[in-house]
């Protein structure tokens, strides 16, 4: 390993990347577009969901129920005069959940009073969800049930003249790390994982396959440069560009989306830099197994499907079947996204994250070892 040769290789790669306007614009544009897209558009919403309300009862009790629903900030109730209008809004997708309060709602509270037998009439409400929007409906369900039950309990309490109190236990909820349950930080911290995994693999794979096809890779291999030098000469300049990308993304996320890391800025950049190396090595391996750039691209695109869906970027891993949960641990991206969320949202420090970092190092050693072998083998 000679520093002089490595320096030459680094210089060559830097110039090649820098003078290729297309790669440069991809490197800048894709992260920004992904960040803004995921941050603005695709972040999951758990506050201010539109809720259609048809209040046929129109009594203090029913108005209290509706007021309680809007007070939590979870729902924005919209009144509908008739049931038909309400159902129409639900079908057309204007609202994704609807509450129907029947005319005898308040009366049933009164009737419940002296009749504690199991068969007694409990006041009823009907809740309709647009099941076509399953995630939204699921969110709305959890909240609506809790809110209606607690309001109902306090209403029933008021009607009761005394004796037993079955008002239930109030649950005072506080969300740590993200008190408003804003979806944007979650998406932003995950986007780092997605962009870095996808782009790094793609750019290295394509750049090396193109070199192989143009014949310049063979030229590299007949120079005195060793495999390690070629590997580093390839990985380090690209890695530097991606680290710069990470910093740019962090700034944009902070300035435009107001998402700054709660943890250490420097620590996050360091972790990301290491992850970029791991991911670039993976790109090298892809390139070794592809004859054309197109094939490498297709492989990366296929690889990006499990990457998005299994790494916990969009769907929580714990909701998956046990076997798949094990598989997700084999994706480096899973660990990086966990690290990124921990640093961004929970302000975790290096010591708490040691196990995850250990996983990444392990992947790094294995993948870089493989990448070295592919460079030598093709020589």
């Amino acid at each position: 390993m000679s520093w002089r040769r490595l320096r030459t290789l680094l210089r060559r790669e830097m110039l090649a990347t820098y003078r290729d306007p297309f790669t440069m614009s991809i490197l800048i544009a894709v992260p920004l577009v992904a960040l803004l897209l995921f941050g603005f558009v695709l972040s999951t919403k758990v506050k201010h969901m539109a809720l259609g309300v048809h209040d046929a009862s129109d009594t203090p009790a029913s108005r209290r129920l509706v007021a309680d629903l809007s007070a939590s900030g979870t729902f924005d109730p919209r009144p509908f005069a008739t049931r038909e209008e309400l159902e129409h809004a639900l079908v057309s997708g204007t609202v994704s959940a609807a509450l129907v309060i029947p005319p005898d709602f308040a009366r049933d509270f009164g009737r419940d009073l002296g009749d504690p037998t199991p068969g007694s009439v409990r006041p009823e409400v009907q809740v309709l969800y647009d099941g076509g929007e399953a995630p939204l409906a699921g969110n709305a369900e959890a909240f609506l049930r809790a809110l209606i039950t607690s309001t109902g309990a306090s209403l029933a309490e008021r009607h009761r003249t005394g004796g037993s109190n079955s008002a239930g236990v109030g649950v005072v909820t506080r969300a740590l790390f993200n008190p408003t349950l804003d979806g944007v930080p979650f998406m932003v911290s995950g986007t780092f994982g997605f962009v870095l995994s996808f782009l790094t693999t793609l750019i290295t794979a394509v750049s090396i396959v193109n070199e192989r096809q143009a014949g310049t890779f063979d030229q590299l291999q007949v120079t005195p440069a060793t495999a390690v030098e070629i590997l580093l000469g390839k990985i380090l300049p690209l890695g530097a560009v991606f680290v710069l990308d990470v910093v740019i993304m962090m700034m944009i996320a902070g300035v435009v989306l107001h998402v700054w890391p709660h943890g250490s800025f420097l620590f996050f950049v360091l972790v990301s830099a290491f992850y970029v190396l791991v991911s670039l090595a993976l790109g090298l391996i892809f390139s070794a197994t592809s004859a054309t750039a197109a094939e490498a691209v297709q492989k990366t695109v296929l690889f990006s499907i499990p990457l998005v869906q299994l790494s916990g970027f969009a769907f929580p891993i714990r909701n998956m079947p046990a076997v798949v949960r094990w598989l997700t641990e084999l994706l480096p991206a899973t660990h990086y996204i966990r690290l990124s969320r921990a640093i961004y949202l929970r302000a975790a420090g290096p010591i708490a994250l040691l196990p995850e970092i250990g996983f990444l190092v392990l992947f790094g050693v294995i993948l870089i070892g493989f990448a070295l072998r592919t460079i030598e083998a093709r020589g």
């Binding site: 409400v125 076509g132 969110n139 236990v169 790390f177 349950l181 096809q213 691209v297 909701n319 929970r346």
Partner: protein, 371 residues
């Protein structure tokens, strides 16, 4: 120009036939077509879900009362949670949240039993807000269990374990999920599967179109044939439309057979609605103005799968050694091509060297690759 009306369809058929033959030899393309739907079907049908499951949580029970135990048992019985971890101190619980080893942390105050008597029992719930979707739902479930907890006169008696927990609150909530009665996330995902697959297909296909022809130099040959541009476009698009329909029908049928998610509406409407979508995606992407700037060494799925090597049967391209023309020159060349439409094929072939020239200059059509 007088042409027999039958010529049109026979030309279209010829171009479509040629396109299909090429497609059949494109292993990467076929791999993508086959692997992608299987992968997506498994992931979206059986793996992904937004419904909370296996939620890790911690309990700090200072009251050690029957009510507290019943509350914890009721939360666990909802089926969304793992068995709770008992912690001895507030700090320990917060540490579990910090390390993402617990998503929810319930703190039951010492005075809970007394508060029940007084009528205002409260517990504290701390959530890990870093995953807002899960946190919100879990918070909702726990709050609901609390609100529905029966604190009747029999607080002294433990509930027998075999009695199922009935989440009956003071209000009877009659819920109904329209269009998706069991609120399965699977239905939501799988109904969009065909759309996702077709979008991906169109992306992988687009460079097979005119860019691929330009790169391998067969575009000029096609122009030299007695086919009109309309015939070429229709002939080139038709096989992909067929593939798209096959993909759509197979993925929809597979979702139905394997996961029981059949379309509720009419198949005819679905098929009719698919056509403009596919045509818009394909034609938009075939258009040179869209494809050219993308089709350079861009690392997105626009490279023709097997762009060079699988076309060995085709003759080598004309690669004039020229500098890349600017936009104006490109437009000029396109205009010239149109004007030359009726010129002798041999002459036209020379004139049409332009579009290839800039590809060559971009280093894409190296001689090794073209052969």
């Amino acid at each position: 120009m007088t042409r027999a009306p039958g010529r049109f369809w026979s030309n279209v058929k010829a171009v479509a036939y040629k396109e299909t033959r090429i497609l059949r030899h494109d292993r990467a393309f076929i791999g993508v077509i086959v692997a992608q739907p299987i992968m997506m079907l498994i992931l979206q049908g059986a793996v992904l879900s937004n419904k909370p499951a296996n939620v890790p949580w911690a309990v700090l029970d200072w009251s050690r009362s029957a009510v507290a135990r019943r509350f914890v048992a009721d939360v666990e019985a909802t089926g969304y949670f793992l068995p709770p971890q008992s912690v001895a101190s507030y700090d320990e619980g917060r540490r579990l949240l910090q390390q993402a080893e617990a998503l929810a942390f319930v703190v039951i105050p010492e005075t809970l039993a007394r508060d029940v008597e007084r009528g205002q029992p409260r517990v504290q719930l701390l959530l890990d807000g870093s995953d807002p979707l899960s946190a919100a739902r879990v918070g909702g479930y726990i709050a609901q269990v609390g609100a529905a907890l029966d604190l009747g006169t029999d607080t002294s008696q433990e509930r027998r374990p075999e009695v199922p927990v009935r989440l009956a609150g003071p209000v009877d909530i009659r819920q109904r999920f329209w269009f998706n009665p069991t609120l399965a996330d699977r239905r939501f995902f799988l109904s969009a599967l065909a759309g996702m697959l077709l979008t991906n297909l169109c992306l992988s296909v687009m460079s097979l179109g005119l860019v691929g022809e330009r790169e391998s130099g067969t575009y000029e040959q096609m122009l030299a044939l007695p086919t009109s541009s309309l015939e070429i476009v229709i002939g080139k698009v038709a096989p992909y439309v067929a593939v798209s329909y096959a993909l759509m029908l197979v993925s929809t049928a597979a979702a139905g057979v394997i996961f029981g998610v059949w379309p509720r509406g009419s198949w005819v409407t679905l098929s009719v609605a698919t056509l403009p979508f596919v045509l818009a995606s394909l034609c938009g992407l075939l258009h040179p103005a869209v494809v050219r700037p993308l089709g350079r060494d861009l690392p997105l799925p626009v490279h023709a799968p097997g762009r060079a090597r699988d076309r060995r049967a085709l003759p080598p391209p004309v690669v004039p050694d020229r500098a890349p023309p600017d936009h104006r020159a490109r437009r000029r060349s396109r205009r010239r091509r149109r004007a030359d439409a009726r010129v002798d094929p041999a002459l036209r072939r020379l004139a049409a060297g332009d579009p290839l020239a800039d590809e060559a200059a971009a280093g894409l059509v190296s001689s090794e690759e073209a052969w």
